[in-house]
């Protein structure tokens, strides 16, 4: 009975317990769901954040790609520019300038058609892809706007010229002016229907136009310089020919003069010898005693004949040396002993005028010389010194060694030579025109002969002089090697 009564109670309490458990379970699940929802929310947030980051990444990637592409494109164009400049660098013919630009280069710059029109003769210098009709029309339009082109490199799209071409041909193009500093050379028309050119491409085009203009300027300058040089060379050649001709003429005249003097001297010597012989015999009374006055006159004649013979002989010597008829025998010889001999020979003359002669000479010095000719040089120079040095004067003779040469120095304390005459004293028949000189006899040939002799030795002679103080003659002779 009790069991029957208890059964529903147990059942109800069990049910109640199960309901409680279920409620607890549902609560726990609801909590889990809520937690999961939170997690899902967080995950969605993370994904959204990732998506925001993805946006940033793709945009940055696009920018980077575009920058990189632009940079690489610029680099490519720079390389192209460098290669183009290199290929144009060596071109010195303006007709060949545009041959360096081929279709590949045009394509690489970013165009498919190109035209270069000369503004000098309106000839087509380069054409890729344009037909004849188009070119003729372009020529006409450019001709009308030629003045506008000055000062431009890339024609702006707002320009009348640009609009006229664009409207007429419905063409997308770029037009550049090839110009130098002063000259307009041509126009460069480039077309690409598919796209607009970038700023960088415009810059590249401008550089190309400028560089071609500069090249054409250089070629022009080169051509002008070349022509000038050619003209100058022709002129130099003409002048040289004239000089050679004049030189030959001078040589011919000189030879004629030498021949004339030589002939004349020979011709004069025979009658002079005869005259001198007879005058000597007459003076010596071989043809009977002469009256005193006649004898005096005759002695004057004899004296002048002697001068004339001397002059003729000197002239003959000069002409022989000039015409190289005199054989010059250069050999080692002691110049000191030669000077001593000549000083000894001329001492009486110096003593007559009470002239003191100082010698500063080494004991001996072997030089290369034709002894007999140098003897004449020394005699002439010393004779001159004696002639022009007043009484109580002084003559110095020195030898100075310089490198491989001996310089023989003969100075006097004579009246000296004016500066304006100093360069002419070695000229034939030149005599200084002053009162002192007029009193001293001379032919004006002695120093000329001296110079000819020294020059025939391939040596030098010069003179220094000061009015009132004296004159110094210098001449050189080569010292024999072992004496150097």
């Amino acid at each position: 009975m009790t069991g029957v009564f208890l059964q529903p109670i147990i059942l109800i309490s069990s049910l109640f317990f199960i309901i409680i458990l279920l409620i607890l379970y549902i609560f726990s699940k609801l909590k889990t769901i809520s937690l999961l929802k939170e997690k899902i929310y967080d995950l969605n947030k993370t994904i959204d954040n990732l998506d925001i980051q993805a946006k940033l990444i793709v945009k940055t990637d696009l920018d980077a790609k575009l920058y990189q592409e632009e940079a690489e494109d610029k680099l490519k164009k720079l390389i192209l520019l460098k290669n183009l400049i290199l290929s144009l660098m060596g071109v010195l013919d303006k007709e060949k300038i545009f041959l360096q630009i081929d279709e590949k280069i045009i394509n690489k710059i970013g165009f498919d058609k190109a035209l270069v029109l000369s503004l000098e003769d309106f000839n087509v210098k380069l054409n890729f892809g344009f037909d004849k009709e188009f070119i003729e029309e372009i020529k006409n339009i450019i001709y009308l706007h030629k003045n506008f082109l000055k000062g431009q490199f890339l024609i702006p799209k707002e320009a009348k010229l640009y609009k006229q071409i664009a409207n007429k041909f419905n063409l997308d193009f770029n037009i550049g002016v090839i110009r130098g500093r002063e000259n307009l050379y041509g126009i460069f028309l480039l077309s690409n229907p598919n796209r607009e050119i970038t700023f960088a491409e415009k810059e590249v085009l401008t550089i190309i136009f400028m560089y071609i203009g500069q090249c054409l300027d250089n070629i022009k300058l080169f051509e002008e310089t070349y022509k000038m040089r050619e003209t100058l060379e022709i002129k130099i050649k003409e002048r040289t020919q004239e000089l050679i001709k004049s030189l030959k003429e001078i040589e011919r005249i000189n030879k004629a003069k030498s021949d004339f003097i030589s002939t004349l001297s020979h011709e004069l010597r025979t009658p002079l010898t005869s005259i001198k012989g007879f005058s000597s015999l007459l003076i010596e009374n071989k043809f009977g005693k002469l009256p005193l006055e006649a004898k005096n006159r005759l002695e004057k004649i004899d004296e002048n004949i002697n001068k004339l013979v001397d002059m003729v002989n000197t002239l003959l010597d000069i002409s022989r040396i000039e015409s190289k008829k005199t054989e010059i025998k250069i050999a080692p010889s002691d110049i000191v002993s030669l000077i001593n001999e000549i000083v000894d020979f001329l001492t009486p003359q110096m003593q007559t005028k009470n002239i003191k002669c100082n010698l500063e000479l080494p004991p001996s010095l072997i030089v290369y010389m034709d002894r007999s000719l140098i003897e004449r040089v020394l005699v002439n120079l010393l004779n001159n010194a004696i002639k022009f040095t007043q009484e109580q004067g002084k003559i110095d003779i020195k030898i100075k060694r310089e490198d491989k040469s001996a310089i023989i120095i003969i100075s006097d304390t004579g009246c000296g030579i004016e500066k304006e005459n100093i360069d002419r004293i070695f000229d034939e028949f030149f005599r200084v025109n002053n009162p002192i000189n007029m009193q001293i006899k001379g032919s004006g040939l002695g120093l000329s002969l001296v110079k000819k002799i020294i020059e025939s030795h391939k040596e030098k002679i010069w003179v220094e002089s000061e009015i009132g103080k004296g004159t110094t003659f210098y001449f050189t002779l080569k010292i024999k090697e072992e004496n150097v």
Binding site: L50, D51, A54, K55, I57, V58, L62, Q68
Partner: protein, 369 residues
Amino acid sequence: MEEFIINFSEKETEEAVKEISLKIKSTFTESIKIFFVFFTPHYNPTTLLENIKYILNPEFIFGLQTPYLIFEDKIIEKGLISLCINKKIDIKYNFIKENNQNIIESSLRKFSFKLIEKKFFLSLVSKEFNIYEVLRTFEWVFGFGSNIFGGGFLKKYSEYPSKIINNDINDGFLTLALSRVDINIYKISGFLALGKPFVINKVLQTQRIINQINNMEPIDIFKNYFEDRFEFLKKYKLLNLYPFIIKEKNESYLISIVDSLEDGSLLYIGDIKKNSKANIAIYNPGILYDSVKNIKLEKDKETLLIIINTTIRKKILKNYAEREISFIKNSLPYKYKVIGFYLDYSFLGNEILRRIILDSVSLIFIFLK
């Protein structure tokens, strides 16, 4: 004796054939059995074939015109590459010139009957053929194993036909079945998936058009990501720089967006199933680096790597395209010989996804031993 002799010439047809034949004959004195030639559109295949037959006279000739070539670490824009195989490879081929579904199916069936040994199939499809129909037929006849690979063109690159097979020069659908050769094939993309996955709700596969993404106009996906730069991207037709990456059963493949249409739909090249989940992707050389390093290669000097690259990948990578090839060449163990050619798209059988996957961005590496 070398098993794979590769040579390159950029001279004109006759001179180029002479140059490569001289190089071949300097290392290979026997008669040539198998001769592959890949050439850019500058070459006339008729003249090329005449010269090859006259100068080299190989037993089997296969030629393919391609917009660009890969030779070692360079991309070649003009030239030809020859591959002379000194190995007893068995090659059978099927050349379908007419775009007719029945002919394609019956021709492939007949071809399958001729094949006894296990084969690798290299298929090349011209623009006249509907690639999706071709691939479905191919799957029907030969299955979808990873031994099936190839690609094709979406346009013609020259006035000349693109394929040479022995005496036959034509466009069309060419399949080479190769046996007695050890081939390993890998697909590498180097692209990284970004952002939230989106669902491609509606797609017209035969017309290669995506009609709806996330129940919206497909173009909105680009608007969402590129915001203020979107108009620039659209104006300069740069949508192809950011392909979609689809992940399916742990396998991923890329879809290239070729253009956008006025109604906001997108024109694509690739393999999309309705309701596929995709992400926008960007090129990441690091991923390519990891993928190349993960290829398990045997250190065998006699291995030749043939790369099937795509013109779209070249457009995406631009100047980096050549750097990528150079990187691949230099990452390989030993100095494997590397050649390659470009197609508008490639495909590779996928046993996990149980179909041949069309991909216009990824690289296919074919290691020949």
